[in-house]
């Protein structure tokens, strides 16, 4: 009994593995992230970047309709590329920029802002990166456009001129 049972299970396991690999082959392996459209913003409690006070998410996404949540770090090279667009976006007062300082250290990050300008209205520091993961972030830089507490658009990688004009169109 036992000796017949084991081979059957073995064969079954390998058959399942085969089927799964076979199906896996057909999946694209381009890791395009799913767009979490219309998702409520995940709540968080993080330390503020400038001082040790706690910032609670429920309090910051309240005043305005539009928020632009941007994950950045001083060690991230593409972040510098998109920085000028963030500075441009800052000029628009219909939207508020929230910076997530991702796995960074304070000295590097503040000299980054000192050199390139500070586009953010609020900066929180996400030291271990867990809150960014809760947002579903894939890496740095990444940005989320928030409208009335819902994520309506997501930008993976640095934003460019087109993204900027798209945002400006949306918030008009």
């Amino acid at each position: 009994m036992k000796s017949k049972f084991i081979p059957l299970i073995l064969i079954l396991i390998f058959l399942i593995t085969f089927v799964i690999f076979f199906k896996g082959l057909k999946n694209s392996n381009i890791y395009a992230p799913d767009t979490n459209l219309k998702k409520e913003v995940p709540s968080f409690e993080l330390k503020s970047f400038e001082n040790d006070s706690i910032v609670i998410s429920e309090k910051i996404f309240k005043d305005k309709d539009y928020y632009f949540m941007n994950i950045w770090a001083s060690w991230c090279i593409p972040c510098k590329e998109e920085h000028k667009f963030l500075m441009e976006l800052k000029k628009d007062d219909r939207i508020e920029l929230i910076g997530f300082n991702y796995k960074d250290n304070f000295t590097n990050a503040s000299s980054f802002l000192k050199d390139l300008g500070n586009p953010y209205d609020i900066i929180v520091s996400d030291k271990d990166g867990t809150t960014s993961i809760e947002w579903g972030a894939y890496g740095v830089p990444e940005s989320f456009l928030v409208y009335q507490n819902k994520i309506i658009k997501r930008f993976i990688g640095p934003i460019n001129n087109e993204d900027l004009s798209e945002i400006q169109k949306i918030i008009k």
Binding site: F14, K26, Y31, I77
Partner: protein, 625 residues
């Protein structure tokens, strides 16, 4: 011309498989001795593959761009060395290399196995031919290295610059010797089961093949790791990338098999284990090829993604797996109950315990590598499994593993006692005190680190002692185990004491930390044959006043147009100082990454020691007493 000859040779090579199979099957029934014709045909087949391989090498050397593979992966301005290594720096060429080693090994096997029974040799050849035919068909059908382009392009597309590295140039051949060596073990294990030849003699005979593949596999992994450290510029030597994992899994299986065979050589026990491991090693090597080449996994080293290729390897792999399951079930029987009596405290138990741990590590890596695929197919979720997973699951289990590895070799076969083992307790206490002393200096979690380092030190001391006590007896095993303890110690110290700074600097700026000051002096430009180099000059002033000058490079390759960053690494016996420089677009800043990594060189040295142990063992007439 060379391509044409190469292409026809491949066809002839495949054709000879038919002869070999025909004569082998006839020989099985007819004669008592092995038909000489079979050996000749095997050699002719090998010869044709050599011709085909040389045809590709010559096309690469002559930059014959009418060959599609050459066109895609070479360029006239490349140095000769990289033109040659470009032969296997691509999917088609590397498969041809694989086939070359396959046919080479079976030829050597036939020559070296003349003391073994005829039936067993023929069956091994037959199983090996199944694999060889599979690869021939795969090569010719889906990835021919000899496709013709007309009209002939003037210039090729060039080899990816990150592959233009000495360590990487010899990494594939060495690794393949390991991978393909396991195919001989696979075929011979199947043959041994079919002909009921699973015995001490078989173990003695196959041990050499296990050792050879193991040594090459170890060195191959080492070279890949060295390449990643020097070339990728991430400042680490192991990233738990799927491609690294798929080379590590056969290594675990092979290491376990090696120890199993050592036991089997003495007594006919653990035969099922040995059979399963022989099959698993090769199946894992093959599935590694599948996972990497089909593009099912996304990895930094993935070559061309082609689902058709993936499908072929997948079907081929599972055919082999089902064939071996079938043979294992119907032919293998454990007639070993009589000899199966060893005391709990014995070398056999220690080896068995370590085998179980090895299997555990293997499963962790296996799950970490393929679980994301399963999850994606079943739930459409995409996850990525990183170092924290492996660290959490593997590190705690290293402790008993290391302890068993320290105690095991000191035990006797069959039955042992703890008399005269007083020194083992002393070593344990010394190791503990030493590691507690070291860990206390640093602000890290005390308990787990101390215990880990204690067990590594313990293995270190007990293997060191054996050098003095046993001297040349059992030297190979002792060197390998000593190397392993050194490896774990270096990795642990490397992890705990590493220091890293990432910053952006302009020319002339200085960056200060508590331990060192980095001064960015200036940059220089140099023109090489196939790239332009921007070399940064950095002075690093250490706390003790010593000064290091580091010159990381940015290379702008002309063909293909890719920027790579070359780390500058100052190595000495105690620490590596590692610096990379990256270009920040449209800015006068450079992104600087500076790392102080202690004991880096000892990681390489210890892996070399480990494989040297295996190498020494090849020359030993008799295994330990």
């Amino acid at each position: 011309m060379a391509s044409l000859i190469g292409s026809y040779s491949l066809g002839f090579g495949l054709f000879f498989s038919i002869f070999i199979i025909f004569f082998s099957v006839r020989n099985l029934r007819d004669y008592e001795i092995l038909d000489k014709k079979i050996i000749s045909f095997t050699f002719i087949q090998f010869f044709f593959v050599v011709v085909s391989f040389l045809g590709l090498v010559i096309s690469f050397v002559n930059s014959d761009f009418s060959n599609e593979t050459v066109f895609n992966h070479s360029h006239t301005t490349k140095p000769l060395f990289y033109k040659i290594s470009g032969t296997w720096g691509n999917h088609e060429g590397s498969l041809l290399l694989w086939l070359l080693v396959l046919t080479l090994f079976i030829s050597i096997f036939l020559l070296k196995s003349n003391k073994q029974p005829k039936k067993y040799r023929i069956f091994t050849l037959l199983f090996q031919q199944i694999i060889i035919i599979g690869f021939f068909v795969f090569l010719i059908k889906t990835s021919s290295p000899f496709n013709y382009i007309f009209p002939k392009p003037n210039e090729g597309l060039g080899l990816n610059p990150i592959l233009q590295d000495p360590a990487l140039a010899i990494h594939p051949p060495i690794l393949y010797l390991g991978y393909v060596g396991s195919s001989i073990i696979f075929s011979s294990a199947l043959a041994a089961m079919v002909t009921s030849h699973v015995s001490k003699e078989w173990a003695k005979h196959i041990k050499r093949w296990v050792l050879v593949s193991w040594v090459f596999l170890t060195l191959g992994i080492l070279l890949g790791s060295i390449w990643a450290y020097y070339e990728l510029g991430w400042g680490g030597f192991w990233f738990w990338d799927p491609v690294e994992n798929v080379s590590l899994m056969p290594w675990f299986a092979l290491t376990t098999l090696l120890h199993c065979v050592l036991v089997l050589e003495k007594k006919k026990i653990l035969t099922s284990w040995a059979m399963i491991l022989s099959i698993a090693t090769f199946a894992l090597s093959m599935s590694g090829t599948f996972l990497v080449r089909s593009g099912i996994l996304n990895s930094v080293h993935t070559f061309a993604n082609d689902p058709e290729r993936g499908l072929f390897i997948l079907i081929f792999l599972f055919t082999l797996i089902f064939l071996s399951i079938f043979i294992f079930i119907f032919f293998h029987s454990e007639r070993e109950k009589i000899e199966n009596n060893f005391f709990w405290l014995s070398k056999e138990t220690a080896i068995l315990v370590n085998n179980w741990f090895m299997m555990y590590f293997l499963s962790v890596v296996l799950i970490g590598t393929i679980y994301p695929i399963f999850l994606e197919v079943i739930t459409a979720n995409k996850i990525s499994v990183g170092p924290p997973f492996y660290n959490k699951l593997i590190l705690p289990f290293l402790i008993p593993f290391l302890l068993a590895m320290a105690i095991g070799p000191n035990l006797n076969w069959i039955k042992s006692d703890l008399k005269d083992k007083f020194y083992m307790i002393i070593f344990l206490i010394i190791s503990f005190l030493l590691s507690a002393l070291i860990i206390k200096q640093f602000d890290i979690s005390f308990l787990i680190n101390t215990i880990l380092i204690t067990s590594a030190f313990y293995l270190f001391f007990s293997t060191s002692r054996e050098f003095f006590v046993k001297r040349f007896k059992n030297l190979s095993q002792n060197i390998a185990h000593f190397g392993f303890s050194l490896l774990i110690l270096s990795i642990l110290f490397n992890n705990i004491f590493s220091n890293e700074v990432i910053t952006n600097l302009k020319i002339g700026e200085t960056f200060k930390t508590e331990k060192f000051t980095i001064n960015f002096e200036n940059i220089e430009q140099e023109d090489e044959k196939n790239f332009k180099a921007i070399i940064g000059k950095f002075n690093v002033q250490n706390l003790d006043g010593s000064l290091d000058i580091l010159n990381p490079e940015l290379r702008i390759y002309n063909q293909p147009n890719i920027i790579t960053s070359e780390a500058d690494i100052k190595t000495n016996l105690l620490t590596d100082k590692f610096m990379t420089m990256n270009y920040v677009q449209n800015q006068e800043y450079f992104n600087i990454r500076y790392q102080v990594k202690p004991f880096m060189i000892w990681i390489w040295i210890s892996v070399i020691l480990i494989s040297f142990g295996g190498f020494l063992s090849l020359f030993k007439k008799r295994y330990e007493i």
